[in-house]
Symmetry: none
Subunit: 198 residues, 4 copies
């Protein structure tokens, strides 16, 4: 389909995305105003609204570009412990690349807008999970992880821990802490075989 009329200036797209990320890191999501984004990008608000329907769409797009579209993968080390640590690292990397606190606020702002929520999940949630899921599959195939282990649950246990600690910052996500968590997840928390007959 052909487009008519004046073509959109592609430089504005980038300038706005850059200004958005810059502002996010400087003042955070809550104090991000399109007025200031437009100012820093050297353009105006209508030009932004023409490209992104809402502030949420803009931030999501800007962050998505920053995270990169190149498929994330967990390197296959052959060692399940190393693989799991690698999996956690994938999650940690997401938080390293996104200004602190933005994820939670953005997610909240997506409440009630299904399309936006889907986009959020596809951009900031699923890529890392898919990479870790594949890693789990490989480890199961190798016989390193239980055959009856639920793939999604495994991914959740790893991802949740990172998310939780990154969000509340009550505990570290560094290598040592992460290794400790991995060992516990592998060995289990139980002291002996247990039944649950209730």
């Amino acid at each position: 389909m052909e487009r008519t009329g004046r073509p959109r200036d592609p430089l504005i797209d980038d300038a706005v995305r850059d200004a958005t990320v810059e502002l996010l890191t400087q003042v955070g999501y809550a104090r991000l105003t399109l007025e200031e984004v437009a100012r820093r990008a050297g353009t105006t608000k209508p030009a932004i609204y023409r490209r992104w329907r809402t502030r949420q769409h803009l931030v999501l797009d800007a962050l998505g570009r920053r995270l990169g579209t190149n498929t994330t993968r967990v390197p296959d080390s052959g060692c399940v412990i190393c693989d799991l640590i690698g999996g956690i690292t994938v999650f940690v990397t997401v938080f390293r690349r996104v200004p602190p606190g933005v994820l939670g606020a953005l997610l909240t702002d997506c409440t009630g807008q299904p399309g936006l929520r889907t986009a959020f999940m596809r951009t900031l949630f699923e890529p890392a999970r898919n990479a870790v899921g594949e890693m789990v599959d490989r480890a199961k195939a190798r016989g390193d992880l239980r055959a009856d282990l639920d793939r999604d649950l495994a991914v959740d246990l790893l991802g949740a821990l990172v998310h939780y600690r990154a969000l509340f910052a009550h505990a570290s996500t560094d290598s040592e802490s992460v290794t400790s968590a991995v060992m516990t997840l592998l060995r289990g928390m139980a002291a002996r075989k247990l039944d649950h007959a209730h």
Copy 2:
């Protein structure tokens, strides 16, 4: 310290807190305006600002009252599986009692305000963790959980899962899912004994 000047009208305190919770459930955190809170509470903005320094302080206080100050406890069932499920339930309850999305947004808004962040942790984060932590201690004392299990890590693994699923809503936090997670945490994910010599 002396108390002087006209005393604050305690009815306003309650009316504002109630109006805040009501608005949070109706329009969410992002669209909560102090103007509307004041209107519904039958008072004015200055009266609110006199009591709570910021919107965040107000919301935190209102939610804290709603969660109750009565100490949360995990009932001691004697069965470690039941106890762990009970522990998870404590976390789930927090989310059930707080309007959806508020926790994340509020936490984000606390960024950069140490005092506020501390208050947030004390009100909405630590009570549930302490209750679960005590449960873990009991199970360890009974010999149901590994003696070398790190208490905070155990609490994290339970709490993180709930938080993660409640936030992203990609998986359930119902009884069945929770039991499955508990069993995996107890038994561990590994198919056999593993070494990590890297």
Copy 3:
């Protein structure tokens, strides 16, 4: 100069001016609030501030419109006494058309704002004076008034009296009082020729 951007809604201009005059007559200048003006005009404060820099500018403009931009004139009756009474009437009319007390308060509020003061003079002060000044010129040309009479002084003597009595309301500005003043001004107060050698 180019005109760009969304044009101002002229209906708002009129609605605000009308609401201003209405409020002035009902509650006076001191209790005039832009909040109430906006409410009655069915608009908001920013829309008002966009049009008038301050409350003073608004009131001045609203009154100016009400007084009319049509040039005031003193009818040429051929009789100097009638002309002078007509001149005084012009001054009286200004006070009749402006809510009581507004002139003084507005003038006071213009203190220290040269631009505003100038606008005040141009709108509420000079038109009547010019009209009376022309009348004085005509009477002098006819030989009814002294050839050496200072035009501005003559205007002052008439205008001051009206202003003084309107403001303090200690004496009337009705036809009889005014005639009496005119006769005194024409004849002079002295009982006989006087010298001043001090």
Copy 4:
């Protein structure tokens, strides 16, 4: 009648009056806040309200003290021109002693409060008029002014001119201007005898 209870601190009365006059000269009547008066006087608002019912009462009292309660008099020079100039000077002095613009604003604020208005007149309006009135009486007795000259009108013509020029500042009230006005008032404005048969 005897008073019981703790006596009022007389130092506060003076401190508040002084602070009021100070503020009036610095920021004018419109920006005079009791909050700031109290601050500068080293006291509090209730202490002020206990002494003066309203801001107007306070300002009026403070100005009244400043003008002095000593009866104003126009010196009897024997020369009617000098006397009239002296009369005008009495009016001018009032404005010299009162911060500019305060008179008009205060008068406006007295609208609708009969008691306050009366106090205003007694304090700031009548003393000067009485002094000039006496001067007119003397000049009439001497045969310097017309026997049929209305005393109040004569006072008005002098007072109005000063008030008018002081308020609008469009003309001077210095000695030369004043002499010119006095000569015109004495001689009259008419070029010849005039009849008014309309």
